[in-house]
């Protein structure tokens, strides 16, 4: 009989424990949007929880594509929980945010403990909203100028909330590190 030991994850290999933790982050990202609906009518406020949980997933796990995995799971979960306002594009939205975070994590592995870099990455992740919103409206055939303005409007809010979401991450990661939960 095999010994019941969970192999540790690494930069390239994702352990089941880490995968499940990333899954919880993804599900939380979706559920937080469902439960804590702010009714602000400010475009992009959902980016606060999206950026926070995807950054948290990447910052707590050593696996280098953790945010992308979380994005994939969050996109799928939001489609299947009926929260996908833009249908199949929800997956693309989450993945675009996640790719920015993974890319930043690849270039600066220690950015997740730094407020400035986390805010910058959160803002950059929020900026992807411009491209996703522009693509969706472009596919629908919206006038180019209106599309540009509407996407810019949505992206501005998303950047602001992405920055806020990013600023929360170092606080949590430092506490987790202090408790010895993450290395």
């Amino acid at each position: 009989m095999n010994p019941v030991v969970e192999p540790a994850g690494g930069l390239f290999r994702l352990s089941l424990k880490d995968a499940l933790f990333i899954g919880f982050c993804a599900v939380f990202a979706v559920l937080a949007r469902m439960m804590l609906r702010l009714h602000l009518h400010i475009s992009g406020h959902a980016m606060l929880v999206t950026a926070f949980f995807l950054l948290l997933a990447r910052g707590s796990v050593r696996y280098r594509f953790a945010a992308s995995f979380a994005g994939l799971l969050a996109g799928s979960a939001s489609i299947f929980l009926g929260f996908a306002k833009s249908g199949p594009f929800m997956l693309v939205k989450y993945l675009a945010v996640a790719l920015v975070i993974d890319l930043a994590g690849l270039l600066m592995p220690n950015l997740f403990r730094n407020y400035f870099w986390c805010a910058l990455v959160g803002g950059s992740a929020g900026a992807t909203k411009f491209f996703t919103a522009y693509s969706v409206n472009f596919l629908a055939g919206m006038d180019r100028t209106v599309n540009f303005q509407a996407s810019l409007l949505e992206a501005a809010g998303a950047i602001l909330f992405g920055v806020l979401g990013g600023l929360l991450v170092p606080v949590v990661l430092r506490r987790l590190h202090a408790y010895g939960v993450i290395s």
Binding site: S15, G23, L73, A77, A150, V181
Partner: protein
């Protein structure tokens, strides 16, 4: 018992696999077909540029909504979102074109975007989430599908844990009641008192599930094995 308003306003329906049991293979195929139909209709909404096409697509969507939902699905929430979205788009079109002729184009765009959302909403509301997850096993890598379905299954348990953490912290005097959270400088308390313990709890739960799965030889076979067959 404390009334915890932060968690109470919205009911979140999550899968409860134990109540429904495994789906027969034919059922999973039917769910897969519905999923494909929803995605196709969503994509068609973006291709619909003429009024007759949009009208046909709307009719198909409404017929599907009525057929799959047995007339039980309410569109009120989606219609509210549609009205709000239409107003924003119309305002932007008015600013852009400075006359009323551009408004029809704006309305058409909003209509298209609504039709892109409607099929997914119909699909999700008319299909049990357990069936969806089981159908997912056929299109996703088995490990990813396992992680997604497990996390969705354990999410209510974790939410209950978070609720007790929240209530415990409120009893200890943490300033995290909804009226306290109206002041942004109290949000940091929520982060320290609820979010950090919740993350620690989810890590512990992930460790326990992983260990239980390993004890059942999860991952020893390249393809997932289970009983009865999915």
């Amino acid at each position: 018992m404390l009334s915890v308003k932060l968690f109470s306003p919205r009911k979140v329906s999550l899968p409860s696999a134990s109540l429904e049991g495994p789906a027969p293979a034919g059922d999973a195929k039917w769910v897969g077909l519905r999923m494909l139909l929803a995605l196709t209709l969503s994509c068609l909404a973006f291709a619909a540029r003429t009024i007759p096409f949009l009208l046909v697509l709307t009719t198909v969507n409404l017929a599907l909504l009525w057929y799959l939902g047995n007339g039980q699905i309410s569109l009120r929430r989606e219609l509210k979102a549609f009205v709000w979205q239409t107003l924003v788009i119309l305002a932007l079109y008015l600013i852009r074109f400075q006359n009323l002729t551009g408004l029809w184009g704006g309305f058409q765009i909003s209509w298209q975007l609504f039709l892109a959302l409607l099929p997914s909403m119909t699909f999700v509301r008319s299909t049990s989430q357990t069936r969806i997850v089981q159908a997912l096993n056929r299109v996703m890598p088995c490990r990813t599908a396992f992680v997604l379905s497990t996390c969705l299954k354990f999410a209510p348990h974790l939410l209950a844990e978070i609720r007790s953490i929240y209530e415990g912290q409120v009893l200890r005097g943490a300033r995290i009641l909804p009226r306290d959270l109206a002041k942004p400088w109290h949000w940091i308390d929520l982060l320290h008192c609820v979010v950090v313990p919740a993350v620690v709890q989810s890590m512990a739960l992930a460790g326990n599930i992983a260990l239980a799965a390993r004890a059942r030889d999860f991952g020893s076979q390249p393809k997932r094995t289970c009983w009865p067959g999915l």
